[in-house]
């Protein structure tokens, strides 16, 4: 291996197609969908559907193969007297798996696509049909049977959505504090889910507007704390599942953000993902598994932030150039005007965040630990793009603040990236713990 900074041709090619989607199925609808908050971006959804279904097919096949391998490995682990289930996620992968994953550019491709889609419109992008975070969780820890049962829907028919429901009114960043319960009813062989989830992206699309599903985090044993937290799959049409509210937001208004109430919602026993046993004493593997997925989703959120930042930067640069304020490279700093210096700073910030994101992603594709890197990328991208979009509004003056341009909307859209998938502060805290070698008790 050698250090290299080159976008592979195969990604470049896909990017050109995604850019066409961004320019033709997103930008023209950006303002209207911001004004009409709960309208759906059908032009975009229909354009993406065939591609997404094909992608889901490939993902499902790969996930099934991995799950089968894991199952075999789990049986070995169990026979050695260790815990099975999610624990095997953290078992070192076999030689074969390693070599297979080494060549992977799946995440690298994904972050590039998401950067470009978010350059188009970050709110619309989120309405992409498919399993989304819920699908990813099932792919990561589901059995081959669960993958088949829950995810096949995303490969065929009309568009469907998936979602992940973690946040509760009293549990945001402190995910360990969730109160939603799952109680097993041996009489009917069902789990009974009770509780309330908020801020669920695509929750209404998944449960009310399509035949989708949501992965819900609930505790099977409150006394067990994090060890008691388990993910459950709740499908559309389950009695006792109510979309109580759809949020009205600062930005990404095209995106569906739902409150879901579970009122004695009954789901089959095998809708639990991973091991139903509460493992105490060896650490809360299930919860750790959930936290682990953040290592792969944080670079994605960072990429989305950077897409918005690039949109704002490019628009500001090009608009100012038409007014005669051109970017100049190669000159000493004192020869730049304040506006040129600001533009340069915006561009440098954008690049800094993007390179951190690419590194976190490269590690992910190589199946290497990337907790530090993914949190660094997310913290940096959220902060940088907040600054870049705010600067864009400022540099374009009265028109920047006006709805004539999209920069004011991009500023509102960008802010979410400093909040969801771990706020900037939470990610900074993770970075701090990692570099100091501190536990959550040593650095609160």
């Amino acid at each position: 291996m050698a250090i290299e900074f080159k976008t592979p041709e195969v990604i470049e090619k896909q990017l050109r197609n995604v850019q066409i989607v961004a320019e033709h199925a997103m930008r023209p609808d950006s303002r209207r969908l911001d004004d009409n908050e709960h309208e759906r971006p059908w032009r975009y959804i229909n354009m993406m559907l065939p591609q997404m279904q094909e992608m889901e097919r490939a993902n499902i096949a790969a996930a099934k193969a991995r799950a089968a391998k894991k199952k075999a490995a789990a049986e070995t682990v169990k026979s050695n007297g260790h815990h099975g289930g999610l624990a095997v996620l953290e078992a070192p992968p076999t030689e074969e798996v390693v070599s297979e994953e080494r060549a992977s550019i799946a995440n690298m491709t994904l972050v590039h696509m998401i950067e470009m889609l978010s350059w188009g419109d970050a709110g619309i992008y989120l309405c992409i049909p498919g399993g989304a975070l819920g699908g990813a969780a099932i792919q990561a820890v589901g059995t081959p049977e669960q993958i088949e049962r829950f995810l096949t829907r995303y490969t065929e028919g009309p568009p469907k959505w998936g979602a992940m429901a973690m946040t509760e009114p009293q549990a945001g960043s402190d995910t360990g504090n969730i109160q939603t319960t799952a109680t097993f009813d041996p009489a009917t062989n069902e789990w009974i889910i009770n509780g309330q989830k908020i801020f669920c992206t695509n929750g209404k699309l998944a449960l009310e507007e399509s035949d989708g599903m949501v992965v819900v985090w609930a505790t099977v044993d409150k006394k067990a704390g994090r060890a008691g937290m388990k993910p459950f799959v709740v499908e559309a049409g389950t009695p006792g599942v109510i979309i109580a509210k759809v949020e009205e937001k600062l930005g990404i208004r095209a995106s569906d953000t739902a409150t879901i109430i579970f009122d004695n919602a009954r789901i089959p026993a095998d809708n639990i993902l991973g091991d139903p046993e509460v493992q105490t004493g060896v650490g809360a593997k299930g919860f750790k598994g959930a936290m682990k997925t953040f290592d792969s989703t944080r670079p994605i959120v960072a990429a989305s932030a950077i897409g918005i930042g690039r949109a704002a930067f490019e628009f500001t640069r090009d608009t100012l150039a038409k007014e005669g304020v051109k970017m100049e490279y190669g000159k000493p700093r004192w020869k730049l005007s304040a506006v040129q210096a600001d533009l340069l700073e915006m561009e440098a910030q954008l690049r800094a965040a993007w390179l951190l994101t690419l590194k976190a992603t490269a590690l992910l594709d190589a199946r290497q630990e990337n907790k530090l890197e993914s949190s660094m990328a997310k913290a940096k991208a959220g902060r940088a793009v907040t600054m870049i979009t705010q600067k864009a509004v400022e540099l374009l003056g009265p028109l920047g603040y006006s709805t004539e341009f999209l920069v004011e909307k991009w500023m509102r859209d960008a802010k979410i990236n400093d909040i969801y998938e771990g706020t900037g502060q939470i990610n900074t805290l993770i970075v701090a713990r990692e570099i100091l070698g501190y536990t959550r008790n040593e650095l609160k």
Partner: protein, 363 residues
């Protein structure tokens, strides 16, 4: 693809330079700064690492191939050790690298061999001028062609090791463009002025040098008729300086991190407090981001792509980052950070310099 792994050769080189920096530079940096003098032995040991010959083609006596990326990797390690001594060690590069980049065959043959020997070469370069608004692309020093010669006039400053130099690479404006001229130190009209006293990097000997009607044959114009491209040189310089800034910042960050874990206040290490821990986390993020920007610019330079923009962004980012990080390190140490017993105050002073040095260092 995007890949962030060094080759095994690069890893070995980086390890070697890191060990040198730890054992040699860290052992003498404070004494060198205070006495404004660098021990001969440290310089000789540094020269024996063979870094410069390793960047020079075998045709001209070296044993390597120039790579801005490989240079950036080891420059970080050296600057981590000490910036002042590193700049002393890099002084021959200021002559050799431009000659290797822009020189014609004859110039390369004539000059590069002396950079591949056992002893530290006595060569330097004069670019920076004593003005507030300095622009390497618009120099006040002039070179005028007169017959078969060039006549150079102007004042330079920040010329490292000028007193012991046997040959200078002098940058001057020729018909509105920056060009470089090879000037032997004993040419009439070359006057070494006073030693420059700076806020930091005081171990490094730098001088003012005046060139008064200094006449050199036209064959001494670097690159012959083709000359040099100052923007390309600046690109390389920005990569070099940004890499050094990363090393310096890393030194300050590591020191502050270790201090914060040991220093107890209110009954526990200060690193247990978010106000300190978050500063350290942000330092780490910014150092890593800058490093990646440097690597990208260097990669592009080596790949023959246009690296100008990447290098400028990296340098601009590094200028700001290194100040923030070194200042943050002083702040983490509090009152102790202000005391010269700890190195962080020196690193803050050294960090301030980067923004003023565009073009002045190439390695």
């Amino acid at each position: 693809m995007y890949s962030f792994d060094m080759t095994s050769e690069q890893k070995m080189l980086v390890d070697t330079v890191r060990r040198y920096a730890e054992k040699n530079l860290r052992a003498v940096y404070r004494e060198a700064e205070e006495s404004k003098h660098i021990p001969e032995k440290v310089v000789q040991t540094g020269w024996e690492l063979g870094l410069l010959p390793g960047s020079i083609d075998a045709r001209y006596g070296g044993y390597g191939e120039y790579s801005a990326l490989t240079s950036a990797l080891y420059l970080e390690e050296m600057a981590w050790g000490d910036l002042g001594i590193t700049l002393h060690l890099l002084t021959p590069n200021l002559f050799a690298i431009p000659v290797a980049q822009f020189g014609n065959d004859k110039q390369k043959e004539q000059y590069l061999a002396q950079f591949c020997g056992d002893t530290f070469p006595r060569a330097t370069a004069a670019l920076v001028e004593p003005v507030i608004q300095f622009d390497p692309a618009e120099l006040q020093t002039t070179a005028v062609k007169e017959g078969e010669n060039f006549v150079i006039n102007g004042k330079k400053t920040y010329v490292p090791l000028a007193k012991q130099a046997e040959v200078f690479l002098v940058y001057a404006q020729e018909n509105g463009a920056t060009q470089a001229f090879i000037v032997p130190a004993d040419t009439p009209g070359v006057q070494i002025g006073k030693r420059v006293k700076l806020m930091g990097i005081q171990a490094l000997e730098m001088y003012e040098v005046e060139f008064e009607n200094v006449t050199v044959p036209k064959a001494n114009r670097l690159g012959g008729l083709k000359g040099i491209r100052i923007q390309r040189l600046l690109t390389l310089s920005r990569i070099t300086l940004a890499a050094l800034a990363v090393g310096l910042a890393r030194a300050a960050y590591e020191y502050a991190l270790n201090y914060a874990k040991e220093r107890v206040a209110f009954g526990e290490p200060i690193a247990h407090r978010q106000s300190i821990a978050f500063m350290l986390a942000n330092m780490r993020i910014e150092i890593e981001a800058t490093r990646l920007m440097v690597w990208e610019a260097a990669y592009k330079f080596d790949a023959g792509e246009d690296a100008a923009k990447s290098a400028q962004l990296a340098k601009q980012y590094a200028d700001k980052m290194v100040l923030e990080v070194t200042d943050g390190a002083v702040q983490v140490l509090g009152g102790h950070g202000y005391i010269r017993e700890h190195p962080v105050e020196l690193w803050l002073r050294n960090g301030r310099g980067f923004v003023t040095m565009d073009g002045a260092v190439v390695a």
